[in-house]
């Protein structure tokens, strides 16, 4: 058994290693090293916990076996998961952190003696507040992440679910939680503790169901943030520095990502949370217009011809590429183009895909070197000097209407200036509007050639035609 002071120092060290783990991600070169720091921090925290309890009875063996059991499942998932499924994996993992926080809070509530928090029925006030906040945030993270997971997985429709009085209900339940925690502190009643947890589960569900598919990058970042705050709440209860530091890091990381995602959509955090974006947009309007305007459509041969005669091509990937799993075919196409001395770069909008950095991971999986992949602000000026923009699976993030029509729901959103290219190739299955429910003006431009097909199939056909 090691002293409390010594273990506190070790927990601090593991907290610092976690900071270094995040720091490593500032560049791909240092990122792998950063991940090792994170692993080291985790190993230190776990070993120190074992040593400070000093209970190496049979139970210790059970704990090790459970660790291995969970670890095996985790490792199995990590190796088997396809990169396109990364958003739902992350959502699923968040739900586990949330539930673990709830369980630890329950354990602490039922048996406060072992955590030095007082006695059952007479828990220290501060600890009681901390653990109920930890449990409530954990429960919201859990059920919210489950809904996000189901939506991303396609088990549940990605369409926003709204009903009358939804926001008032949420508000009512949110206020209710605080009142219940107040009474919990006064009465130490077990029933109230359970009620707080159940209501929190309910809030998690209600919070995520009105949010639609393309707002998922914000939701995932937000749940990421919540899982951090839940951990921090538990950290205060257990008086554990490693947990407090980690909770704060994760909490602020998720919050920053949510902010970046909201900014990239030019929407306030609250309008995303309140949900229902594009759900009741006058769809009929856009359909009427569609019939009147001429659209140029082409086939793989035309596209191959255009690109072969270009000197620079910019690829704009979006969620459709992930759905069609077209990243490998795309890479093949780019290889052929490069052989013909055509300069090819990739332009990525921050909210392309279903989570922050989603497109970057898919391109990395297809062996695209990361120094050919550029963010919106770094490449947007290059469109004017390029010959072809190849838009594959993206839609709203290229819509020029965001710059011109103040009435449009996406007005003010930063978009990729693809229309400035000499010609635009737009791979899409149909003319249907994107997530925002608005027509993309780009389809009807003179320099746009629509390629109606599945992204993967079209790309493969283009590859054949490039020979």
């Amino acid at each position: 058994m090691i002293s409390q002071n010594l273990s506190a120092i070790f927990y601090l060290i593991s907290g610092i290693l976690f900071i270094l783990a995040l720091r490593g991600l500032s560049s791909p070169d240092t990122s792998r090293q950063g991940n090792y720091f994170g692993i080291a921090g985790m190993i230190i925290a776990v070993i120190v916990t074992f040593l400070s309890i000093g209970n190496f009875s049979n139970t210790f063996i059970y704990v090790l076996l459970l660790l291995l059991f969970g670890g095996t499942i985790g490792a199995f998932i990590a190796f088997r998961i396809p990169m396109t499924a990364m958003p739902e994996l992350v959502a699923g993992f968040h739900s586990l952190v949330g539930l673990a926080a709830v369980f630890v809070a329950i354990a602490a509530f039922l048996n406060p003696e072992v955590f030095n928090l007082g006695f059952s029925g007479n828990i220290k006030l501060a600890s009681l507040i901390e653990m109920s906040i930890g449990a409530a945030v954990g429960a919201i993270t859990f059920s919210g992440s489950i809904i996000a997971f189901l939506k991303l997985r396609g088990i549940m429709s990605g369409a926003p679910i709204t009903f009358f009085g939804q926001h008032y209900l949420n508000l009512f339940l949110g206020v209710g939680i605080f009142i219940l925690i107040f009474y919990l502190c006064k009465t130490q009643s077990e029933d109230i503790f359970w009620t707080v947890i159940i209501i929190s589960f309910l809030i998690g569900v209600l919070l995520i169901i009105p949010i639609g598919g393309a707002d998922m990058p914000v939701v995932i970042s937000m749940l990421n943030s919540y899982s951090g705050w839940a951990a921090a709440g538990i950290g205060f209860t257990l008086e554990n520095t490693a947990l407090i530091i980690t909770g704060a890091l994760v909490g602020s990381s998720g919050a920053i990502l949510s902010y970046i995602m909201c900014r990239a959509m030019n929407r306030s955090f609250f309008s995303v949370i309140l949900g229902g974006f594009g759900a009741d947009n006058s769809q009929s309007d856009s359909k009427d217009k569609k019939d009147q305007k001429p659209v140029k459509s082409g086939n793989a041969e035309d596209a191959a011809f255009l690109m072969k005669n270009a000197s620079s091509v910019i690829i704009v990937p979006g969620y459709g590429m992930a759905v069609a799993q077209a990243q490998h075919a795309l890479r093949e196409m780019v290889d052929k183009l490069k052989k013909n001395d055509i300069k090819v770069t990739y332009a990525i909008h921050p909210v392309a895909g279903r989570m922050p950095g989603h497109m970057n991971v898919l391109l990395a999986e297809a062996n695209v070197p990361y120094d050919e992949v550029f963010e919106l602000e770094d490449i947007n000026n290059d469109f004017a000097n390029s010959d072809v923009a190849f838009v594959i699976g993206a839609n709203d993030v290229t819509n020029p209407i965001a710059k011109t029509d103040p009435k449009s729901p996406i007005f003010g959103m930063p978009v990729l200036d693809v229309e400035k290219c000499k010609s635009v190739l737009f791979v899409k299955r149909s003319l249907s509007p994107g997530y925002a429910g608005i027509d993309n003006e780009l389809f009807y431009r003179d320099n746009t050639l629509m390629l109606f097909a599945d992204a993967k199939k079209m790309t493969e056909d283009i590859v054949k035609n490039l020979d």
């Binding site: 995040l22 209970n55 985790g74 992350v90 955590f115 970046i260 990525i348 970057n360």
Partner: protein, 102 residues
């Protein structure tokens, strides 16, 4: 009057939020997905609480409800720790520079 230890923990918490703020802004946008998976992995350090619940509560008279919740939380957190770090590693292995350059 002595300072309540809670204040010290609060100080650590708030300073860590600031550290997190600056560190995360320096993360390159192309690594935002690995950032999420690694933050997910490190937040599973909550396993510390699960281990205490499981080990410390079972010392005298066998299992009780508190240790059962501890055991459950250990499994959940372990899935996350191994899954989170390994999937991050797998992703980071894929980020490569252009061949022949440097």
């Amino acid at each position: 009057m002595e300072i309540d230890p809670f204040i010290f923990r609060l100080s650590i918490f708030i300073l860590s939020i600031f550290v997190g703020y600056y560190v995360v802004w320096s993360v390159t946008p192309s690594l935002h997905t690995p950032l999420m998976s690694v933050t997910n992995a490190i937040s599973s350090v909550i396993i510390v609480g699960a281990i205490i619940a499981a080990l410390a509560s079972t010392s005298e008279n066998g299992f009780n409800s508190s240790s059962i919740f501890g055991f459950l939380a250990i499994v959940l957190a372990a899935v996350n720790i191994f899954g989170g770090f390994l999937v991050t590693q797998r992703m980071l292995q894929m980020y490569k520079k252009k061949k022949g350059k440097k």
